[in-house]
């Protein structure tokens, strides 16, 4: 059942709710408008924004989570990206990294390319994640539920999958201004200093 439009957040609002809970945890952002919005709302050195490689954000998060088992790693993903990289849900479910939190902002469209519908309006991505072996799986759309579930996932062993149903509204946001090679350096340094 599709949540009522009236209570759904925009993706930017939903991201803000999660940003309010994170401290120094690294976050991987899938490519597209999601990354641009995040850059505008809350740029920080622990943010890694993708500009291509659709479907790959969760796997980058997985590799990072395996390299840094002592810290929670977040992935901000979209429904189109999850559908494209769905096989990586099996890898995550199979490996079960306790420190990975996969947050999916599901607006049921390819919002960066003209709002073509995705299959997530027909397929429950949270069910897919559960079947793939994620330990904590929740589907939410209201702000207080986003905050509640995200808080508990930050304090629980994962892997966790938080599906946030959002509306199609897009924040007016420019391209990420950090050069990719600089972002790699900046992000690695931020991860290193966390480890110390």
């Amino acid at each position: 059942m599709r949540p009522e439009e009236g209570v759904m957040q925009s993706r930017a609002q939903a991201m803000q709710a999660v940003f309010g809970l994170v401290t120094d945890q690294p976050i991987i952002f899938c490519h597209g408008m999601l990354a641009r919005e995040a850059y505008k709302l809350n740029d920080r050195p622990q943010n890694f924004y993708m500009i291509g490689s659709a479907g790959g954000a969760a796997s980058i998060g997985l590799g990072l989570a395996l390299a840094h088992p002592e810290k929670k790693v977040l992935v901000f993903d979209g429904d189109g990206n999850v559908l494209m990289g769905m096989s990586s849900l099996a890898t995550i479910g199979g490996l079960k990294p306790k420190n990975l939190i996969h947050v999916v902002f599901d607006n049921e469209v390819y919002g960066s390319t003209g709002n073509q519908p995705t299959y997530s309006r027909l397929i429950r991505l949270d069910h897919v994640a559960k079947a793939a072996g994620y330990v904590n799986v929740e589907r939410v759309w209201e702000r207080e539920d986003i905050v509640y579930e995200c808080k508990s996932m930050l304090n629980q062993d994962g892997p966790s999958f938080l599906l946030i149903k959002v509306n199609e509204q897009i924040e007016d946001a420019d391209r990420v201004a950090v050069e990719p090679a600089d972002m790699t350096k900046r992000f690695r340094a931020a991860c290193e200093s966390r480890k110390a």
Binding site: P26, I28, F48, M50, I51, G52, S53, G55, G56, S59, I60, G61, L62, G63, L64, A65, L66, A67, H68, G85, S87, S88, A90, T91, L95, P180, A181, M183, T184, F187, R188, C191, E192, K195
Partner: protein, 165 residues
């Protein structure tokens, strides 16, 4: 023939400490050694293996990605839109199926064009041999450090010992 164990130790010798990939029979001996030593994190697609390795590199690891060259086709977009753009390196160990046309038909086009494909997207590569193992691995380390992009070691049939089918 290079023992799989020696090959793994040679890679460890240059600092490699995160191993992922998708299996090929020609790489089965290497994966077996890595599995026994609990060093291997299996991926389900080659592009996924590369992105996982990228995450590991961002977390301070020196990653190795094992794949058959058919997987190079799947991995192309990640190489071009992630590794080369963000200067995220890894060591790619690619089995050369279809070398000199001696393989099943699905491997022939890739077998013939792989070096040119790698040249086109400017991935440095070198073909591994038993006689030059040490040099090959040292070259890999040097190129990795200098260029900060993926470096490919190509493995022909019979060069690294594999499992008996």
């Amino acid at each position: 023939m290079i023992e799989s164990d020696d090959f793994v130790r040679a890679l460890e010798g240059i600092g490699c400490n995160f191993f992922t990939g998708v299996p090929d029979m020609m790489l089965a001996g290497i994966i077996d050694v890595l599995g026994e030593r609990r060093l291997y994190t299996p991926a389900v697609r080659e592009d996924e293996a590369l992105t996982m390795a990228a995450g590991a590199f961002l977390g301070g690891k020196i990653p190795v990605v094992l794949m058959e060259n058919s997987g190079l086709g799947k991995a192309m977009n990640v190489l071009m839109s992630l590794n080369l753009i963000y200067t995220i390196p890894c060591v790619m160990v690619i089995s050369w199926r279809g070398f000199e046309g001696e393989d099943a038909s699905e491997h022939l086009v890739m077998g013939q064009t792989m070096p040119q494909l790698l040249d086109t997207i400017r991935i440095p590569h070198r073909t591994l041999s038993e006689q030059t193992l040490d040099h090959d691995v040292q070259w890999t380390a040097k190129t990795f450090m200098e260029q900060r992009i993926p470096v490919a070691l190509l493995v022909k049939k019979g060069v690294v010992k594999t499992l008996q089918p």
